[in-house]
Symmetry: C2
Subunit: 131 residues, 2 copies
Protein backbone atom coordinates (compact mmCIF):
# COMPACT_ATOMS: atom_id res chain seq x y z
CA UNK A 1 0.00 0.00 0.00
CA UNK A 2 1.27 3.43 -0.91
CA UNK A 3 1.49 6.12 1.72
CA UNK A 4 -0.87 8.03 -0.56
CA UNK A 5 -3.58 5.44 0.15
CA UNK A 6 -3.56 6.45 3.81
CA UNK A 7 -4.97 9.81 2.81
CA UNK A 8 -8.75 10.17 3.09
CA UNK A 9 -9.38 11.96 -0.19
CA UNK A 10 -12.67 13.83 -0.24
CA UNK A 11 -15.46 13.40 -2.81
CA UNK A 12 -13.52 15.65 -5.20
CA UNK A 13 -10.34 13.61 -4.73
CA UNK A 14 -8.71 16.37 -2.68
CA UNK A 15 -7.09 16.75 0.70
CA UNK A 16 -6.74 20.02 2.60
CA UNK A 17 -3.14 21.18 2.91
CA UNK A 18 -1.92 23.66 5.51
CA UNK A 19 1.45 25.32 4.99
CA UNK A 20 3.31 26.42 8.10
CA UNK A 21 6.62 28.23 8.29
CA UNK A 22 8.95 25.59 9.72
CA UNK A 23 11.06 28.18 11.54
CA UNK A 24 8.61 30.75 12.85
CA UNK A 25 5.62 28.42 13.22
CA UNK A 26 3.45 30.95 11.43
CA UNK A 27 0.52 29.44 9.52
CA UNK A 28 0.89 30.74 5.98
CA UNK A 29 -2.01 29.42 3.93
CA UNK A 30 -4.39 26.57 3.32
CA UNK A 31 -4.96 25.10 -0.11
CA UNK A 32 -5.89 21.74 -1.63
CA UNK A 33 -3.99 18.84 -3.14
CA UNK A 34 -5.04 15.98 -5.33
CA UNK A 35 -3.11 12.71 -5.35
CA UNK A 36 -0.74 13.89 -8.05
CA UNK A 37 -0.05 17.17 -6.25
CA UNK A 38 0.79 15.40 -3.00
CA UNK A 39 2.99 12.85 -4.77
CA UNK A 40 4.79 15.66 -6.64
CA UNK A 41 5.24 17.61 -3.41
CA UNK A 42 6.99 14.66 -1.81
CA UNK A 43 9.14 13.94 -4.87
CA UNK A 44 10.08 17.54 -5.52
CA UNK A 45 10.43 18.70 -1.94
CA UNK A 46 8.42 21.80 -2.86
CA UNK A 47 4.71 22.45 -2.37
CA UNK A 48 2.52 21.57 -5.32
CA UNK A 49 -1.18 22.23 -4.88
CA UNK A 50 -4.30 21.64 -6.90
CA UNK A 51 -5.80 24.95 -7.92
CA UNK A 52 -9.55 24.54 -7.76
CA UNK A 53 -10.14 27.86 -9.52
CA UNK A 54 -7.78 27.08 -12.38
CA UNK A 55 -8.44 23.33 -12.48
CA UNK A 56 -4.77 22.41 -12.69
CA UNK A 57 -1.67 21.60 -10.69
CA UNK A 58 -0.14 24.65 -9.13
CA UNK A 59 3.53 24.53 -8.23
CA UNK A 60 3.54 27.30 -5.67
CA UNK A 61 6.06 29.92 -6.71
CA UNK A 62 6.18 28.78 -10.34
CA UNK A 63 5.70 32.39 -11.39
CA UNK A 64 6.75 34.41 -8.37
CA UNK A 65 9.75 32.35 -7.35
CA UNK A 66 8.22 32.10 -3.89
CA UNK A 67 8.42 28.33 -3.69
CA UNK A 68 7.82 26.53 -0.42
CA UNK A 69 10.59 24.06 0.37
CA UNK A 70 9.09 21.22 2.33
CA UNK A 71 10.96 20.18 5.43
CA UNK A 72 8.29 17.87 6.76
CA UNK A 73 4.93 16.41 5.77
CA UNK A 74 2.38 15.48 8.40
CA UNK A 75 -1.00 13.77 8.23
CA UNK A 76 -3.78 14.22 10.75
CA UNK A 77 -5.67 11.55 12.67
CA UNK A 78 -8.55 11.44 10.17
CA UNK A 79 -6.19 11.43 7.22
CA UNK A 80 -8.04 14.29 5.57
CA UNK A 81 -5.62 17.14 6.26
CA UNK A 82 -1.92 17.35 5.54
CA UNK A 83 0.42 19.81 7.22
CA UNK A 84 3.49 21.04 5.37
CA UNK A 85 6.27 22.51 7.41
CA UNK A 86 8.01 24.68 4.88
CA UNK A 87 10.74 27.16 4.24
CA UNK A 88 8.97 29.94 2.32
CA UNK A 89 11.48 31.25 -0.21
CA UNK A 90 11.08 35.00 -0.53
CA UNK A 91 9.04 35.12 2.65
CA UNK A 92 5.71 35.79 0.95
CA UNK A 93 2.90 33.23 0.82
CA UNK A 94 -0.06 35.44 -0.02
CA UNK A 95 -1.00 36.75 -3.44
CA UNK A 96 -1.60 40.11 -1.74
CA UNK A 97 2.15 40.36 -1.11
CA UNK A 98 1.96 39.51 2.56
CA UNK A 99 3.91 36.91 4.49
CA UNK A 100 0.76 34.99 5.39
CA UNK A 101 -2.72 34.69 3.91
CA UNK A 102 -4.14 35.04 7.44
CA UNK A 103 -3.64 38.77 7.61
CA UNK A 104 -7.05 39.78 8.93
CA UNK A 105 -7.69 39.68 12.66
CA UNK A 106 -11.08 39.95 14.29
CA UNK A 107 -11.19 43.10 16.41
CA UNK A 108 -14.57 43.54 18.05
CA UNK A 109 -16.97 43.05 15.18
CA UNK A 110 -14.66 43.80 12.26
CA UNK A 111 -11.79 42.14 10.47
CA UNK A 112 -8.69 44.32 10.49
CA UNK A 113 -5.67 43.86 8.25
CA UNK A 114 -2.74 43.49 10.62
CA UNK A 115 0.05 42.22 8.39
CA UNK A 116 1.97 44.59 6.16
CA UNK A 117 2.16 44.25 2.40
CA UNK A 118 5.82 43.42 1.86
CA UNK A 119 5.75 43.71 -1.90
CA UNK A 120 3.30 45.08 -4.43
CA UNK A 121 1.68 41.98 -5.97
CA UNK A 122 2.03 43.57 -9.41
CA UNK A 123 5.79 43.42 -9.08
CA UNK A 124 5.94 39.76 -8.12
CA UNK A 125 3.26 38.01 -10.12
CA UNK A 126 2.39 37.41 -13.68
CA UNK A 127 -0.79 35.44 -13.22
CA UNK A 128 -0.08 33.45 -10.10
CA UNK A 129 -2.78 33.74 -7.52
CA UNK A 130 -3.50 32.42 -4.06
CA UNK A 131 -5.39 29.52 -5.59
CA UNK B 1 -22.63 44.17 7.38
CA UNK B 2 -21.67 41.60 9.96
CA UNK B 3 -18.10 40.36 10.16
CA UNK B 4 -19.64 36.94 9.53
CA UNK B 5 -20.66 38.10 6.05
CA UNK B 6 -16.99 38.51 5.12
CA UNK B 7 -16.59 34.75 5.38
CA UNK B 8 -16.81 32.84 2.09
CA UNK B 9 -18.98 29.95 3.29
CA UNK B 10 -18.73 26.91 1.07
CA UNK B 11 -21.64 25.13 -0.63
CA UNK B 12 -22.38 23.34 2.67
CA UNK B 13 -22.35 26.62 4.58
CA UNK B 14 -19.05 25.79 6.24
CA UNK B 15 -15.63 27.36 6.61
CA UNK B 16 -12.42 25.47 7.38
CA UNK B 17 -11.01 26.26 10.81
CA UNK B 18 -7.41 25.66 11.82
CA UNK B 19 -6.54 25.64 15.52
CA UNK B 20 -3.01 26.64 16.43
CA UNK B 21 -1.45 26.72 19.89
CA UNK B 22 -1.01 30.43 20.52
CA UNK B 23 2.11 29.88 22.62
CA UNK B 24 4.02 27.10 20.89
CA UNK B 25 2.77 27.78 17.37
CA UNK B 26 1.97 24.09 16.94
CA UNK B 27 -0.87 23.37 14.53
CA UNK B 28 -3.30 21.27 16.52
CA UNK B 29 -6.19 20.36 14.23
CA UNK B 30 -8.43 21.40 11.40
CA UNK B 31 -12.19 21.18 11.60
CA UNK B 32 -15.19 23.01 10.17
CA UNK B 33 -17.52 25.74 11.38
CA UNK B 34 -20.90 26.87 10.25
CA UNK B 35 -22.07 30.42 10.84
CA UNK B 36 -23.49 29.63 14.24
CA UNK B 37 -20.31 27.85 15.32
CA UNK B 38 -18.15 30.80 14.34
CA UNK B 39 -20.49 33.29 16.01
CA UNK B 40 -20.54 31.18 19.19
CA UNK B 41 -16.75 30.86 19.12
CA UNK B 42 -16.39 34.62 19.09
CA UNK B 43 -19.03 35.16 21.79
CA UNK B 44 -17.82 32.41 24.07
CA UNK B 45 -14.09 32.82 23.51
CA UNK B 46 -13.82 29.06 23.13
CA UNK B 47 -13.72 27.00 19.95
CA UNK B 48 -17.08 25.73 18.74
CA UNK B 49 -17.01 23.64 15.56
CA UNK B 50 -19.61 22.03 13.35
CA UNK B 51 -19.25 18.27 13.51
CA UNK B 52 -19.92 16.94 10.04
CA UNK B 53 -20.04 13.35 11.29
CA UNK B 54 -22.50 14.10 14.06
CA UNK B 55 -24.36 16.85 12.26
CA UNK B 56 -24.38 19.21 15.20
CA UNK B 57 -22.48 21.97 16.94
CA UNK B 58 -19.46 20.68 18.78
CA UNK B 59 -18.12 22.75 21.64
CA UNK B 60 -14.61 21.34 21.70
CA UNK B 61 -13.91 19.98 25.16
CA UNK B 62 -17.56 19.74 26.13
CA UNK B 63 -16.94 16.17 27.31
CA UNK B 64 -13.19 16.01 27.87
CA UNK B 65 -12.74 19.43 29.43
CA UNK B 66 -10.09 20.13 26.81
CA UNK B 67 -11.58 23.38 25.63
CA UNK B 68 -9.65 25.70 23.36
CA UNK B 69 -9.60 29.26 24.68
CA UNK B 70 -9.43 31.58 21.72
CA UNK B 71 -6.88 34.36 21.92
CA UNK B 72 -7.22 35.50 18.34
CA UNK B 73 -9.32 34.83 15.25
CA UNK B 74 -7.86 35.33 11.80
CA UNK B 75 -9.37 35.14 8.31
CA UNK B 76 -7.42 34.36 5.16
CA UNK B 77 -7.29 36.35 1.95
CA UNK B 78 -10.01 34.29 0.26
CA UNK B 79 -12.19 34.37 3.35
CA UNK B 80 -12.65 30.61 3.26
CA UNK B 81 -10.35 29.59 6.11
CA UNK B 82 -10.25 30.87 9.67
CA UNK B 83 -7.28 30.47 11.97
CA UNK B 84 -7.82 30.23 15.69
CA UNK B 85 -4.87 30.97 17.93
CA UNK B 86 -5.83 29.11 21.06
CA UNK B 87 -4.80 28.09 24.52
CA UNK B 88 -5.51 24.35 24.58
CA UNK B 89 -6.69 23.54 28.09
CA UNK B 90 -5.34 20.16 29.14
CA UNK B 91 -2.86 20.22 26.29
CA UNK B 92 -4.61 17.58 24.20
CA UNK B 93 -6.36 18.37 20.91
CA UNK B 94 -6.60 14.92 19.36
CA UNK B 95 -9.15 12.25 20.16
CA UNK B 96 -6.24 9.78 20.20
CA UNK B 97 -4.94 11.50 23.34
CA UNK B 98 -2.15 13.35 21.60
CA UNK B 99 -1.30 17.04 21.77
CA UNK B 100 -1.93 17.50 18.06
CA UNK B 101 -3.93 15.65 15.42
CA UNK B 102 -0.92 15.91 13.08
CA UNK B 103 1.00 13.13 14.73
CA UNK B 104 2.03 11.20 11.61
CA UNK B 105 5.14 12.27 9.74
CA UNK B 106 6.11 11.06 6.29
CA UNK B 107 9.38 9.14 6.52
CA UNK B 108 10.45 7.80 3.16
CA UNK B 109 7.29 6.12 1.88
CA UNK B 110 5.48 5.56 5.16
CA UNK B 111 3.65 7.63 7.75
CA UNK B 112 5.16 7.25 11.19
CA UNK B 113 3.51 8.24 14.46
CA UNK B 114 5.92 10.67 16.06
CA UNK B 115 3.86 12.23 18.84
CA UNK B 116 3.31 10.39 22.11
CA UNK B 117 -0.12 9.48 23.45
CA UNK B 118 -0.34 11.64 26.55
CA UNK B 119 -3.52 10.10 27.89
CA UNK B 120 -5.51 7.00 27.08
CA UNK B 121 -8.54 8.28 25.16
CA UNK B 122 -10.80 5.98 27.19
CA UNK B 123 -9.93 7.92 30.31
CA UNK B 124 -10.71 11.33 28.87
CA UNK B 125 -13.71 10.88 26.63
CA UNK B 126 -17.25 9.76 26.85
CA UNK B 127 -18.25 10.07 23.25
CA UNK B 128 -16.32 13.13 22.12
CA UNK B 129 -14.38 12.56 18.95
CA UNK B 130 -12.09 14.48 16.69
CA UNK B 131 -15.07 15.51 14.57
Amino acid sequence: MSWLDAVAWNADGLVAAIAQDADSGEVLMMAWMDRTALARTAELGEAVYWSRSRGRLWHKGETSGHVQRVRELRLDCDGDVVLLRVEPVGGIACHTGRRTCFYRRLAGDAWQAVEPVLRDPDTIYEGERRE
